[in-house]
Symmetry: C2
Subunit: 297 residues, 2 copies
């Protein structure tokens, strides 16, 4: 909300100026007695440049701004989720600088919130169902596999196919494949920006629509992370991460190259860095000390 | 490389057709005796649509294709790294479908490669320097903080400021801020696509330039992950992750909501899912069983 207000206040005047300039340019071009190749070329260069920044010279699209509050929120949302469609981009240097600062704070914070949400969702959506499957007599490995497949099917239904159907209804020029393509490109955070909802002229409730898409993107991303995490857990259980020598989802004490960042067992000298707290807890021989011995010891 | 070849073979014909259509359209428009508002509007709609797909009607930009081998590789690279500039996007339905399949395989594989690389780089770039700082008599917490700050400064110098200087030299229309903005937006994988290197007409060694940018993106992303991982480790050591109740970088046995996905201690009945291997290793009372007891037991 704060980001949207700042973006809106920085970019709106610049956009309005560009929009007025383009109107004048178009009128001038139309008032010419006859066009030649050179003047058309010059005109088109300017039109393209304006178009790159999301300002169109077309008559019916020039009503709504790209930097009203809902659109600015949508832009800020695509920044912090790293989707980045680029359908509108900051025009001014101030806007660009603010984008950098905003993403610098916003991206890690969003990832933090998403991680925290996923962690809270792990019990009801992953641990509890897998436990249920096991109590009904399933082996642990098939249970996690069945659960993962179920989650995958539900995910594809609820976050790819259903939204694609909605988008292909709401957007006149989108086919169903376009909808699936948009959902996929968005939830992978690729965000090419060739399809962006709410950009067609004359859409009713455009602001509400943009906010809904924002909510869809956030929840969708969260579910993607949850799915990835579930897959990582399943891969751990099936020995896949060990096979590929990758970090495990839950535990990592076994790998030889994942030593603790702090050297906790110097051989021949008294450790100069062990503070009183840590020193008061003797290291057991053969135990692999880690952060915890320093944090909690 | 394979993705680039497929994208190139799918999209090149479609692009060539659109390009020829645009040429004809432009000639038709120029041959009109005089333009009026309606015909200009119609012409501009078509120009804009073509422009959205990366086909420009401008004379000097129509020489190079967006789907030659280097450009296709660049596009494939932005897909799998989830940067997704969207400066060129697939035109055909086949191209869109292939993008989905390609990203579905490519994105996880790239993340896997990046994770594996980061893991191999942890020792020489993080553990060894921190160990060195500690041996020189530093406490562990300041040592990690100093090391992180050093890495951050080096990262900003080598992956933001230096490339920005290079880009602002090579690209005629980019300022230094534009270069920094591009580097930042790219390495956060936001990829707005308002600035994309190698898109200006008449650039020499364009293909080599695009491949260099690809290498820069890949190495830059790797260093970003390494920096994030280092920060995570430092946050663990300083008790920040515990404070925020987030998953720790290395260990996670302590949190009550991070139970193992597999229920390993039913109370009153013989566990039906313990296979022979796992059963042969008795669970110690009070030990917290996890994946490993099933994998390795």
């Amino acid at each position: 909300m704060f980001g949207a207000l700042v973006f809106s206040s920085i970019e709106r005047p610049v956009e309005d100026k560009l929009r007025r300039d383009m109107e004048v340019l178009k009128q001038d071009f139309l008032n010419q007695s006859c066009v030649n190749a050179a003047s058309l070329e010059l005109f088109l260069v300017k039109v393209m440049t304006a178009n790159k920044y999301g300002v169109s010279v077309l008559r019916n699209s020039s009503v709504t701004s790209n930097w009203d509050l809902a659109s600015s929120m949508f832009f800020a949302n695509t920044l912090v989720t790293t989707v980045g469609y680029g359908h509108t981009t900051p025009l001014s240097d101030t806007g660009k600088a603010f984008s950098i600062v905003y993403a610098l704070i916003g991206v890690p914070f969003t990832m933090l919130v998403l991680t925290a949400c996923v962690q809270r969702l792990m019990f009801p959506l992953v641990l509890a169902p897998v436990g249920l499957l096991q109590r009904s007599g399933m082996e642990p490995r098939p249970a996690t596999a069945v659960h993962f497949l179920l989650m995958l099917v539900l995910m594809v239904l609820c976050f790819f196919l259903a939204p694609a159907a909605v988008f292909s209804t709401l957007e006149v020029s989108w086919s169903f494949l376009d909808g699936v393509y948009f959902s996929f490109i968005s939830l992978c955070t690729i965000g090419l920006g060739d399809f962006v909802p709410g950009m067609e002229p004359g859409q009713k409730y455009r602001q509400l629509y943009q906010v809904s898409v924002m909510v869809y993107l956030f929840v969708g991303l969260m579910m993607m992370y949850l799915l990835l995490r579930t897959f990582h857990k399943m891969a751990d259980l099936h020995g896949l991460t060990t096979f590929l020598q990758l970090p495990r989802c839950e535990e990592s004490d076994q790998d030889e190259d994942r030593e603790p960042i702090v050297e906790s067992k110097p051989d021949d000298q008294a450790p100069p860095y062990l503070n009183d707290k840590a020193a008061s807890r003797p290291l057991e021989p053969g135990s692999q000390p880690s952060y915890n011995t320093i944090n909690k010891g």
